[in-house]
Symmetry: C2
Subunit: 150 residues, 2 copies
DNA sequence: ACCTTTAAGTTGTACTATACAACCAGACCT
DNA sequence: AGGTCTGGTTGTATAGTACAACTTAAAGGT
């Protein structure tokens, strides 16, 4: 086996291990917001509101899945629906104050967890690791679709 | 925000994105074996058989979950149970020939997918990325438990 | 030796995330 | 106006998972 193969093997193994653990780890870190809910809220915050369809396209989720996720978040009072001015079919989803607070709280938890976990990494390594992850994820775009990235 | 914070932010975001996509991506890559089944089979192969309890401990899964996963793999003819010589309660799980073949096939698919995806990375980058992932995952050990790693 | 406790595994039950298909309602095109 | 497309909800099904109750066997204490 070449060095290259050994590296590939390690990358595959470690990413697999990470993937297996991630959801449960996130659930432990913030039981009040699943990884997906967290992501959806974060997206709403970042964009300042968008439609359910946009979320589905962006995250490659079925619209029914998004519909139910949003329904859950609305039930929790984290999201509100506003009529879309230009299209009566559509709704624009917005974070509520409560949703924003919760998101901020969870984001802070996550940030702290990462900060602590990576506390003994030096800055240059962090920077390179971040770069590699970006590069890896960027190569994920399903060929043939116009980068419905997620 | 410091450079360090920016890197942490990126790492967090990209790992989250990866985690969100991983299961579905694995399912697309090999529909016949979920990420968890794949991992369990790979573990059995690597160890040459072990008990269900060991799998549960290793992967931080409930024993009922493992029991059902194994039942499924047995139904598919990928795993067989052998009596444990030293403990009448226990069973030692082994890969069958069919299970080994399927695993090899899936592993080859995965290897190819990673190879292709990382085709334009140079060897040094692959090596560093692998090292970072190892280091990151190694820091995951839940404190207070004796490294029931997964 | 007996009784209690612990360990391995299964099964009942419940919940979450997800997909696909059927559907409804509004929009758009000709 | 009629047909088609699009945004969204709902019905249904599946996978993965956990927790609790249970069964059986092993281990330990007295």
């Amino acid at each position: 086996m070449t060095d290259r193969d050994a590296s590939l093997e390690t990358i595959q193994r470690e990413l697999t291990a990470f993937a297996r653990r991630a959801r449960a780890a996130a659930a432990r870190l913030h039981p009040e917001l699943s990884l997906v809910s967290y992501t959806l809220l974060a997206h709403l915050e970042e964009r300042g509101g968008c439609r359910a369809t946009d979320l589905a396209a962006h995250y490659l989720l079925d619209k029914s899945t998004v519909s139910r996720q949003i329904a859950g978040l609305e039930r929790l009072g984290f999201v509100e629906r506003r009529p879309a001015p230009e299209d009566q079919r559509a709704q624009v989803l917005h974070l509520t104050a409560r949703g924003g607070d919760t998101l901020a709280q969870v984001a802070a938890n996550r940030r702290d967890a990462f900060r602590e976990r990576l506390a003994d990494w030096d800055g240059a390594d962090l920077d390179r690791f971040a770069g590699y992850l970006l590069r890896y994820n960027a190569s994920n775009r399903t060929p043939g679709r116009r980068t419905p990235q997620a």
